[in-house]
């Protein structure tokens, strides 16, 4: 389990990295935290001929408040840093709650926000969470600079809008609306395993304490992050009663997903977990929405 040979570059500026990407394109792989890429290289499932190491580019490491009140993260911000940053806890509490559920402390020391997003594993928490938080990603290349909303960024299993010469440099999250609640619940066999199913939820109540908006994101039930749109729609305008929540959870399990079976969970079991976790996550999120100051 030793990686195949590759040429190695360690640029120190974004421009330098973009120039390398422009030069090597499909042959190159950007190395962020490496916590998904290096295992694949050790198994020789990935054999990039060029590695462009982003770990020496200081401009990719930051967490700061955006002008509109949201948050901006440099793509190389490490999970451990996000996990401990008070700005995260304050501005994007769902992400704060998500961080300890990602892999293990050792992986979080090294793994990066942007790396997880670019890798686009349908079981990765940050992928789904970014979608339901309406995050957006800044993709830069020598030819351009564009922002892509998270809900459009993910195309399928390990596939995104990123072109071979493009680099994800920055992630943005808008501020939460008042009277918002959130939750992320997962079922995984062991704490550090990918979730068999995970449900991330953000809800927002109107002044009459009815559901104004709901976003329900599901992990590990499709080729990419899956939003339970029908379940969410069913909640709009409803008082968040347990009956309404139960109904939404059943819609999510029955109509919003087409999960596949694998060695850890059958499609039927995944549906069951989606139903249970959606109900539990919505209950928690609505409770927070009505009691927390957001």
């Amino acid at each position: 389990m030793k990686p195949a040979p590759f040429d190695y570059y360690a640029p120190t500026t974004i421009e330098e990295a973009l120039s390398l990407l422009a030069r090597y394109g499909y042959d190159a792989k950007a190395l962020a935290g490496g916590q998904s890429l290096i295992p694949m290289m050790n198994f020789r499932l990935a054999q990039p001929s060029v590695l462009i190491d982003l770990n020496n580019i200081p401009d990719l490491f930051f967490i700061r408040v955006a002008q509109e009140g949201g948050l901006r993260l440099g793509a190389m911000t490490r999970h451990a840093q996000v996990e401990r940053d008070p700005l995260i806890a304050e501005r994007v509490p769902l992400i704060f709650e998500t961080m300890p559920k990602i892999a293990t402390p050792q992986i979080r020391s090294r793994g990066t926000f942007g790396g997880s997003i670019s890798h686009a594993d349908p079981s990765a928490e940050l992928v789904t969470v970014s979608v339901i938080l309406d995050g957006s990603f800044r993709l830069r290349s020598q030819a351009g600079d564009r922002w892509v909303p998270a809900r459009e960024f993910f195309i399928g299993m390990f596939t995104t809008q990123l072109e071979p010469d493009e680099l994800l440099t920055e992630i943005a999250f808008p501020p939460l609306q008042p009277r918002s609640g959130w939750a992320l619940l997962e079922i995984s066999r062991r704490p550090h395993d990918f979730a068999l199913v995970g449900v991330a939820v953000v809800v927002n109540l109107d002044e009459d304490h009815r559901c104004h908006n709901a976003r329900i994101g599901l992990l590990s039930v499709g080729d990419g992050p899956v939003e339970a749109h029908r379940a969410a729609e069913a909640l709009i305008g409803q008082a968040p009663t347990s009956a309404a929540i139960q109904a939404a959870a059943e819609i999510a399990a029955a109509e919003d997903i087409d999960p596949s079976s694998d060695i850890h969970a059958s499609a039927g079991y995944r549906r069951q977990l989606v139903k249970v976790l959606t109900r539990r996550a919505l209950s928690l999120a609505f409770e927070r929405a009505s009691t927390k100051p957001y």
Partner: protein
């Protein structure tokens, strides 16, 4: 063959300079280039935790980093804790509580726990169990590791 790269790295307080193939894993570098064989390799895919070392004082899987990436950084391995004659309090606690059997996973567990106890000096049992849940041990059933951490937490506070 790809080119060799210079690596200047501080390990357990000592400076080392080596030329490495960029694909050389940090775990192999520590074990076979620097001859610090206390860092063990159990899976090389980032699950077992045996190869955990401190990289700029953060616990990392050394099998999921390239040696070349350590250039300019500081690493602490199990050899940087105590000596056989004068064990680190955490090592002492592992001995007293029988927190190891075959000892293969132990260095990785110790290196996971050092920063954990620094940031959480009085952990409860569930925090301890969570903290080591990224380290597999096949011998102990973890119970005496948990006991050792409790004991170490007392030792380190007094």
């Amino acid at each position: 063959m790809s080119d060799l790269y210079e690596v200047a790295v501080t390990i357990n307080g000592k400076k080392y300079q080596r030329s490495v193939d960029p694909r050389l894993l940090l775990s192999d570098f520590l074990r076979h280039e620097i001859n610090l064989t206390g860092t063990h390799v159990g899976c090389e895919h980032g699950v077992c935790g045996a190869c955990t070392v401190l990289f700029d004082r953060q616990p990392v899987r050394s099998c999921l980093m390239f040696a070349v990436q350590a250039n300019g950084h500081e690493i602490i391995t199990v050899e940087g804790l105590g000596t056989q004659e004068k064990l680190h309090p955490l090592q002492e606690a592992f001995m007293e509580a029988h927190g190891l059997q075959c000892g293969f996973c132990t260095p990785g567990i110790l290196m996971t726990l050092v920063p954990f106890l620094e940031s959480n000096p009085e952990p409860d049992e569930s925090e301890i169990r969570h903290a080591i849940s990224g380290n597999l041990c096949r011998c102990t059933g973890y119970q005496n590791i948990v006991e050792a951490v409790k004991l170490a937490s007392e030792k380190l506070r007094t």
